[in-house]
Amino acid sequence: MVGLFVRLKLRLVAGSLKGTGGRRAGFVFSLIAGLLVAIVGFFFLGAPRILEPGMAADIGIIFYTAILTMWIAGPLLMFGLDDTLDPARLALFPLRTGQLARGLLASSAVGIWPIASLFAMTGVIFGVGRSVTGVLLGIVGVPIAFACCLVVSRLVTTGLSGVLRTRRGRDVLAVAVILVVVGTQVPGLLLNTGLNIGPEAIAGLADVLRWTPTGMVVHGIADGGLVGLAEVIAVALFTAGCAWLWIIALKAALVRPDASSQGGGSVRRSRFGGLLPEGVLGAVAAKELKYARRDPRGRVTWVSVLAIMIVMIISTRSNTDGGPTVWMGVFPVWLGGLVVALQATNSFGIDGRALWMNAVVYAKPEALRADLAGRQLAISVIGVPLLGVTAVVTGLLTRPEWILPAALTGWGVMGLVFSVGSFTSVYMAYTQPERINAFTGAAPGQGGQAFVSSIGSMVGGAALSLPVLIPVMSGFVWVSVLMPFYGFGLAWLARRKASEIGLRRMPELMADVSRPT
């Protein structure tokens, strides 16, 4: 049975090699990335050999905890993509729970990422093990830590599988993906802000993390004595306990009825919908605002925008050692404007296969023009206050008199990106997959379009803003008054032209945004 599951997993891996170019490229990418992670991880865990033992152990503990965290988070993010993760898929096979458990465990150990992490983990034997007994403990401890990762990850996935199959569970998960991506930026940010991450900080962190199951193994290897032995045994017992819990969870998951099709609750009726104008513009703007908070893609977009803004504000603070320059006050808001408006470069993408509902109605360019305006209005409703706050905060960190010029510049540049975005939306529309992927925001085969349209709009918007930006940066801050008129005036002209093109291209546009993903 174990062999069968291993072969199944190997076949799933090999299957992606037979797929289309995109899938094959994805496989090659994971292979290279896996190899890199294995080598770099091994190096980072092995190289501390040159450091003093205590420091090496601390680094090992932190890395091992990170590996365990990735083992827990990774499969959750892959849920629904890897069929061996969901017990419900296997519930109908004539297998005993024990057979299934062994098979599933074996299949989680097979694959690019498990092998890569096991290889990286062995580095700790070289980096941390300083005595013969320590190395011996390492030879036993590393496989135990690896098994611990496997079992804990399975336990979490199986325990949550019922929730993960529901629509709400998947929605939460989609947003969690972006939080993970944002989270990876935190250490860099902390370093950037000049916070003191010296040996003391590492030691302090390691002091806590040494009590995590995998951290304990590293601590044991470093200790090399009886305490170390006890720690490795404790982790082995912990792993066995988790395995037992996992089998219980698996049993329950196999017989529990699937509740995923039982619908979610009701949504609150809009309180402010009446404020928007009647007609296409108001309807589209209201719909977009609802999508911004209800659709995982909308949430992810705004969470990332918010994260970028915060990063920029923090970096401003760290650079104000000398006297602040206009650049520091205006640049974050200007860049913020570019980023906020970036969503307008593929305006119809979020509608996807539902775009026909608009298409069967629009008979004149004016209707599509109002539609585009509605979408841009929705972005502005959230983006304008957000940029305003950014301007205030950066202003307070630099010089308060730059708040207004910065805000005006940021708002205006939004309009400029809208202008370019109106054209990319009708000429280079692409499908936004509902299942969010960390590597691409487009359907297979449309990555190039997505890249050109977003980078093009950003560069285009930035270039268009230069006539106003340059005087502002040179100290003539009052020129920024022109920016909103310039930006939104151009956006108005662009909508006029783009809506004519878009209406002519409507069938093609619909095909572009409803590709299979």
Binding site: R167, G263, S266, V267, R268, V280, A354, W356, A363
Partner: protein, 254 residues
């Protein structure tokens, strides 16, 4: 007889594959018309082209005498569409979806709300009106889709497989609404491959096979005394399935 829909030589190819090879579809005004054909006959492609969702490679489409692709202003206001695949705005509630459509169609807000409320009641969706469409079942999705298509009281309604995957209760509701609608002189054209249903509901039928219309007219003329199913199988040229093979299947073979 005035014609609600007429196409002449409608053609569409996807690469090498010719999906629709010169369709001359005629549907008289006020009829409840069925467009039947086996899978891959080109029903969906034909309906998509007529409703302006797919660009034809050639041919002419007229809806109440107006050219669908040359005069979209007139045509788009007079048609309602429920395409295949239940593609709806997933993150709106049923009620919001109807309000959205009403506003797009330029129906005043109060009037739109009134119509939406009545449609929701008739479709038996009042309990789920504030749930997101993504959480709807297939039957509920078809009903909300039909409600959205009816909201602006179109003269001609195009429905692609409206009864597929719908439970009998919802199907009955859908059929009742459509019957009332055609009784007032409006036209319904729906595609299906359930012959019993077409036989029961329709007074006009067009049979498609391999991208062409092989028969069309009042249902009794097409049937000519047979059941529609028999007539259909003969028209699309489906032979008797071979008796060979599958000898192992069934309990008699041991």
């Amino acid at each position: 007889m005035t014609e609600a829909v007429r196409t002449r030589g409608l053609v569409k190819a996807f690469g090498q594959q010719v999906a629709v090879a010169g369709v001359d579809l005629v549907v008289p005004a006020g009829s409840f018309a069925g467009l039947v054909g086996p899978n891959g006959a080109g029903k969906t492609t034909t309906l998509s082209m007529i409703t302006g969702l797919l660009r034809p490679d050639g041919g002419l489409i007229e809806i109440h005498g107006a050219d669908a692709w040359a005069d979209p202003v007139k045509v788009k206001a007079s048609i309602g569409v429920l395409p295949e695949g239940l593609r709806l705005f997933e993150r709106l509630s049923g009620r919001e979806l109807l309000a959205y459509n009403a506003e797009l169609r330029g129906i005043p807000r109060a009037e739109g709300e009134q119509r939406a409320a009545e449609l929701l009641a008739v479709m038996d969706l009042l309990d789920s009106q504030d749930k997101l469409v993504v959480d709807y079942s297939t039957g509920m999705r078809k009903k909300i889709g039909l409600a959205a298509a009816l909201l602006h009281n179109p003269a001609v309604l195009f429905l692609d497989e409206p009864f597929e995957g719908v439970d009998p209760v919802s199907a009955n509701t859908l059929a009742e609404v459509l019957r009332r609608y055609t009784a007032s002189g409006s036209t319904v054209i729906f595609s299906s491959h359930v012959m019993d249903l077409v036989e029961r509901l329709c007074d006009w039928v067009s049979v498609m096979s391999r991208g062409q219309i092989v028969a069309q007219g009042p249902i009794d003329e097409v049937r000519r005394g047979r059941s529609l199913n028999e007539a259909f199988l003969e028209l699309v040229g489906a032979g008797e399935s071979g008796e060979g093979g599958l000898t192992w299947l069934g309990s008699s073979s041991g």
